[in-house]
Amino acid sequence: MPAAAGAVEIDLWEQRMTTTERLTECDIDDFGRELDRIRDEVTAARGENDARYIRRVIAVQRGLEAGGRALLFVSVLPPAWLVGTAALATAKILENMEIGHNVLHGQWDWMCDPKIHSTTWEWDFATPAKAWQHSHNFVHHTYTNVLGKDRDIGYSALRIHPEQPWHPVYLAQPFYNVALAMFFEWGITIYDVELERAWRGEKSWREALTELRGVLGKAGRQVIKDYVAFPLLSGPSFLTTLLANLTANTIRNVWTHTIIFCGHFPDGTVVFTEDQLDGESRGEWYLRQLAGSANIDGGALFHLMTGNLSHQIEHHLFPDLPSNRYAEIAPRVRALCERFGLPYATGPLLQQTASVWKRVLRLALPGQGGHQAAQ
């Protein structure tokens, strides 16, 4: 690693490397080239089976959603409520994670199907696709884990890495993280308007208000659908349907919050300072993505329900490769890390979630939380 002043964190990360030797600039270039090769291979192999995969997921998701909502028309009957709510929650999770998130990344643009394309897709989420694409695809995926640059929600709302200076407001973070989990959709929606940037004069209020209007329109349609239209259509099941939709949205919120927080915040992930970005080579960019991300172990169904964000490392290395391919390249990426002696953060869901919550609790208090001081 070139001895940039901002590379303190990566130095700490490299201390955990399995080999005693530091990577030379040459090693980093090799590492980058190997990853490029994996990327090229997958790109060349994309084809009919991948297309069939995403269309099947979309068909299953729409079937689940339609079936779930149909059952909820008679949600006064407890079994119908239970099955309907479960189907709807599953459909919403699939829609947001395996379909929406990944389509909006352009993972399926290569099919040139206007119905499944990053420029045409709109998802079942309060924030409009376009607003989210900017904050997520561009800001988060470019400046991954760079403090002060990566606006991914955790970094601004929470003190999740010891390098972030403490403030008394963080004393409340265990509580508001619970609230954020429950209302995740709304947290992201409000956050994506970036009102604080208008406040700081980094963008005009006019721009912020135009965006806000767009968000309110989209969010309004979402609210009317789940909390007015479907309950009304359910007639005598009005209240139970309302409750079912609220439950499905909340399950989806807590689940996505959990998975996403496991992606960048468990032990083993590191943050960077802005000077890390100066003259960053392709290999160094890959290293930062690897160091800033963590996977979650699990089976095929689990990976599907996380939108394959359980392969967060592979996703951050190759954000626009089709998600169904991450599982297949994960062992190769891991083997590559072993070859270069690089840590590959992964663990079961429970362990990763516990690790995140330990940080949320510990770093609510001042101090480094047992970590070495950075200097």
Binding site: R46, G47, E48, N49, D50, A51, R52, A59, R62, G63, A66, R69, G106, D109, W110, M111, C112, D113, P114, K115, H117, S118, T119, T120, E122, W123, D124, K218, R221, Q222, I224, K225, A229, F230, L233
Partner: protein, 351 residues
């Protein structure tokens, strides 16, 4: 309230419950050919015509408005998971009883879509369709004497015409490398036996290429005939020159399947506005192909520089028209046809 107003109100309510999707996103899953859907078709059968040509029988969706004999239809087919659009002449008559249409495709070397359709197309596959279009058609008042001058797959639009209208006096001069390469050979000979067609069949492997200047030896009254010609560029260029030299250019109607590419230059980096994608392009590949290969949703049409369906604002840089070599530079309001334009240095397209 009128029934239309009522229906549109009901549709709005439906949109309210399917948001952010549309009702059609659900309906498409089980009824892709219904009225009101994007126009699609279902492949019902594939019949081999020659070793490398096949006729595809398509059941068009409810929105199909029919065609005029000689017109072409654009179809969007998924090849290796990628949606590719091509134009093919309709070869079925306009009055076909079962409402199906046929296209006849010849596999060309390196042709992704044509090879897929001829060798791998399966009945049951849903494809995207566009309404039929094209000016290569017979006039309302049928001419007394007609000449069809065709070669290779250039026979396809003419077959649509032959099957559609009974004309008094029709002569056809058709070239193909060998006997077994003649698409529709049996159909043609049936028409000959019927006395509704006079056919001059040339096998160029043995007979040599048709010399258009000596057409009078095959068809003495060629100059009196209203002529429709379709085939390779060389033949059409020669025909156009010959008819023009005889002062009867207005009697010749031609259809080209591919643009004539004469000039290529240095390429450049192309940026596509809507996705922000940037790709290196060479100076010979049409920007439409460059964009599609990069997964950009490009507007497209005939892919031969005729229909302007692909016209896109050029925001920056310069492009070269592959047919003429002419350079177009970006200015407000300047549109370029991406199917016949290549990068001439770095450039940016609106989409």
């Amino acid at each position: 309230m009128t029934s239309t107003a009522l229906r549109s109100r009901a549709w709005q309510l439906l949109e309210m419950v399917t948001t952010p999707l549309l009702p059609s996103d659900y309906l498409d899953l089980f009824s892709p050919l219904r009225a009101g859907a994007d126009l699609r078709g279902r492949i019902e059968a594939v019949h081999a015509e020659t070793p490398d040509a096949a006729t595809i029988v398509i059941r068009p969706g409810k929105g199909w408005r029919g065609h005029v004999a000689g017109q072409y239809v654009r179809i969007g087919v998924d090849v290796d998971g990628v949606r590719l659009w091509r134009a093919y002449s309709v070869t079925s008559p306009t009055n076909r009883q079962d409402g199906r249409i046929t296209i006849t495709v010849k596999a060309i070397p390196d042709g992704k879509v044509s090879n897929h359709l001829v060798r791998h197309a399966k009945p049951g596959t849903v494809i995207q369709l566009d309404q039929a279009t094209g000016e290569f058609v017979l006039p309302k008042t049928k001419p007394a004497k007609v000449l069809y001058l065709t070669a290779g797959s250039g026979i396809t639009p003419v077959m649509g015409m032959l099957r559609d209208a009974q004309l008094e006096d029709v002569v056809m001069v058709h070239s193909a490398p060998r006997k077994q390469d003649v698409i529709f050979r049996n159909d043609l000979h049936d028409l000959v036996a019927d006395k509704s067609l006079r056919l001059v069949e040339l096998h160029t492997d043995t007979d040599g290429m048709l010399d258009v200047a000596r057409l009078h030896e095959l068809v003495p009254d060629w100059a009196e005939r209203e002529t429709w010609a379709c085939g390779p560029t060389g033949m059409l260029d020669a025909a156009e020159a010959h008819w023009a030299a005889n002062g009867i250019a207005e009697r010749l109607h031609t259809e080209r399947f591919r643009p004539t590419i004469v000039v290529a230059g240095d390429g450049g980096e192309v940026t596509f506005g809507t996705t922000g994608k940037t790709v290196d392009a060479d100076g010979a590949t049409p920007l439409l192909d460059v964009g599609e290969a990069a997964g950009v949703l490009m507007p497209s049409g005939c892919r031969m520089g005729i229909c302007f369906g692909c016209s896109t604002p050029l925001k920056a840089g310069a492009v070269r028209d592959l047919r003429t070599g002419e350079i177009t530079e970006a200015e407000p309001g300047v549109l370029v046809q991406t199917c016949v334009s290549a990068a001439a240095g770095p450039c940016e397209l609106e989409r």
